[in-house]
Amino acid sequence: MKSTKFTPVPLTKAETDKKWWEIGDFFRRNSLWLLMYCTGCCAIELPPAMTSAYDMERLGMGPMATPRQADILLVSGYLSLKTLRRLIYTYEQMSEPRYVVALGSCPINGGIYHDSHAVINQLDQYIPVDVYVAGCMPNTEAVMNGFVDLMDQIKHKRANGWKKYHENYSWYKANQITSLGEVDVHDEFHE
């Protein structure tokens, strides 16, 4: 019998990292936790998705209370200026890798509020977005399919929005400042 001797192929550090990253990706895409930030109307389709009717826990997903714990920032619909400030704040708080899913028309190109003075038009000007789900509002099925799309993106290493945010940080910041004037929140409470 021919003996097959196991000869370990030495991996470079980059390759090792890549392997680890793939393993990590497996876990990450099978356990996506949402940050329920009800930025807009599409949030109303999330309770059905989370609760009994569509039960997204089957996919390993669930809502989380705080940004630190969450993997997905779910932008559910339109973003008013006031929300965007807090959204950016929230996004920056999330631990990496983090993904952004945008629901509905509004984050794509403004939706029904495209000419409103209070609502931004394109979310990807301010933070990178990994998956968009069309619809106004998207049906729960569409939302669920959107999440699976995101998982697929992660699997194929295409959900790199958070890296983009680092790479183009100054570009994003500049856009934020153009639209918001000031990104940080200043009010009685934040002094």
Binding site: L35, M36, Y37, C41, A53, Y78, S80, I112, S116
Partner: protein, 368 residues
């Protein structure tokens, strides 16, 4: 101990919608608080002025997301008042069915929302499971789950689909049989009663001071102050229903009324299905293509009883194709802004989320 700053929301599981309650607490007691609205501000009233009467129907449901139909009703009936338009009889009854389903849906959501602050998620899951059935019925009737855009100026957009009555009856029967379960799991549950009994009080004087309406008002003043009874619209004067009231308004009694109102809504829908005449469902407000429909000059305040209270549209027309000004009175405006400023202090931080929940605060209608 020094006052500590805390904020409930905008991103907070206990907050309904995107708003923030800022609190200054001492220990567990809230010393000072206010609502920070505007997170959902879309410039709604401005947007409505810029849209035609006809394509405003795409915009108005978005004022209040959990119960969009009241907006359509308030807007459509306001415009009809300005137009002095008589709509077909059947349309009135269909509108009532839609409005009552919306009320049930909103109540279920609010009642299930009790599961958040009190931690009884099973209640929330059950309520949402039932609510999802309503959404499915809505989808069959109107073609959309949430933004129905169904009640339009001149009636309703199209007739009920065939066979929908059966679906409705099936749903109503099953919901009715489960109302007891909801009570058991929620307001009659000993562990939850501890949280909701004798807290979050809303005495009658406060009601008048703030201008709270709806369940908040009825639970405190012990009178059937419901627009459906007091100044009936649609055909509410032709159906029999009771308005549950109470003279002691704590969180529990308000939730109790909510469940009782669900029962009443079920009764109303059944009566509607029985009494609804056949016939047309829509008249056109004017001749010509819809983009050239105009509404005569005038001011009108059009009001609807929502699940949270009096919901009104102040509408002004200058005779053109666009509304000149539309003002929205969100039902939760008084308790949401002034209420939180004045009457949330003194409660504990545990109560804040429950306060927001049981007072019926819907942030999109405050911000608009």
């Amino acid at each position: 101990m020094k006052e500590m700053k805390l904020f409930l929301g905008p991103q907070h599981p206990g907050m309904h919608g995107n708003a923030s309650v800022h609190m200054f607490v001492d220990g567990d007691i809230i010393k000072r608080s206010y609502l920070l609205p505007g997170m959902l501000y879309r410039g709604f009233e401005k947007q409505m002025e810029r849209k035609l009467w006809v394509n405003n129907i795409a915009l108005i449901p978005r004022v209040c997301v959990p119960e969009p139909d009241i907006n359509e009703m308030a807007f459509a009936s306001g415009a009809e008042k300005l137009l002095k338009l008589e709509i077909p009889e059947r349309a009135h009854w269909i509108r009532m069915i839609i409005l009552e389903f919306a009320r049930i849906s909103a109540h279920l959501m609010a009642y299930g929302g009790l599961g958040g602050p009190t931690g009884n998620y099973t209640l929330m899951y059950h309520a949402h499971a039932d609510r999802n059935n309503i959404l499915d019925i809505f989808e069959k009737i109107t073609g959309a789950r949430v933004y129905h855009q169904y009640i339009v100026i001149g009636g309703v957009r199209q007739d009920l689909p065939k066979g929908i009555e059966k679906d409705m009856h099936t749903f109503l029967d099953s919901l009715e049989s489960r109302l007891k379960e909801y009570r058991d799991l929620g307001i009659d549950n000993a562990s939850i009663i501890k949280r909701i009994k004798d807290t979050i009080m809303l005495p009658a004087e406060v009601v008048w001071e703030l201008g709270v309406t709806g369940i908040g008002m009825r639970s405190a003043v012990n009178k059937a102050y419901d627009i459906r009874k007091v100044a009936p619209y649609a055909r509410y004067d032709q159906v029999e229903f009771e308005v549950p009231v109470s003279d002691y308004s704590d969180a529990r009694s308000r939730l109790d009324i909510k469940i009782k109102e669900v029962q009443q809504s079920i009764n109303i829908i059944r009566q509607c299905l029985e009494k609804m005449p056949e016939g047309p469902v829509r008249v056109k407000p004017a001749r010509g293509q819809s983009m050239r429909w105009t509404v005569p000059k005038g001011h009108v305040y059009s009001m609807v009883e929502s699940s949270r209270g009096e919901f009104g549209y102040y509408m002004v027309s200058n005779g053109g194709t666009h509304p000149y000004r539309v003002g929205v009175r969100g039902a939760s405006y008084p308790q949401g802004l002034l209420g939180i400023e004045k009457y949330l202090p003194g409660t504990r931080i545990d109560d804040a989320a429950l306060w927001v929940d049981t007072m019926g605060i819907c942030s999109p209608e405050i911000d608009r």
